[in-house]
């Protein structure tokens, strides 16, 4: 078991319901054999350059603790998903839940 930070960028024209279903879908996969420590919704953010004809992106951020094998499975599904533009997973030895860089402004 290790700590991971997991961010998903959704398409710009997704509604709130579709975004919720996206979050639920991936949090269910994680819940099978790991646990979610924190979820952050960063909301619609401007992208620096166009990605797949999208100017903006819907950002969701997970802080989780699961095994490495499952990360591969999640990334496999994300790569097929048409609602997702980009994703990123980063491994950490220690995770800090205090600092939030987005969402403070709002």
């Amino acid at each position: 078991m290790a700590f991971y930070e997991h961010t998903i960028v959704g398409k710009q024209d997704l509604s709130d319901k579709e975004m919720q279903s996206l979050i639920d879908k991936y949090s269910q996969i994680i819940d099978k054999s790991g646990k979610i420590l924190k979820t952050e919704k960063w909301g619609l953010l401007n992208l620096a350059n166009k990605i797949k004809k999208n100017k903006k992106g819907n950002f969701v951020h997970f802080k989780i603790e699961i095994e490495g094998k499952l990360v591969k499975e999640i990334e496999k599904q994300l790569s097929i998903d048409t609602n997702v533009i980009r994703y990123l997973t980063v491994k950490y030895d220690k995770i800090d839940l205090k600092n939030e860089f987005f969402g403070i402004k709002k």
């Binding site: 620096a48 992106g57 980009r86």
Partner: protein
């Protein structure tokens, strides 16, 4: 006294406009690393405000000889910038 003056210069520089490739030589030399002091900000791919400061207008990473960031922190910066670029934040 001299030391105090130097420190004040450094602080002024921090609040000034962003760094560029064509830095005045007064600001280049004799500064300690701005990221490895006690209250220095966290180097992370989510901390975009900081990363913007250490990249050029076109998105290149500024060399440490201009920003006087230490070797260790420069390595952390470069990975953080690359991660932020994947997500399209920078």
């Amino acid at each position: 006294m001299k030391r105090d003056k130097k420190n004040k210069k450094g602080k002024k520089f921090g609040s000034q406009n962003r760094l560029t490739l064509f830095q005045k030589p007064e600001m280049k030399f004799g500064r300690s690393c701005p990221l490895s002091q006690k209250n220095s900000p966290i180097v992370d791919y989510k901390n975009i405000k900081l990363l913007r400061k250490y990249t050029s207008d076109t998105g290149k990473i500024l060399p440490s000889r201009i920003t006087s960031v230490s070797q260790f922190k420069q390595r952390q910066l470069s990975t953080a910038v690359k991660r932020a670029k994947i997500l399209g934040l920078i």
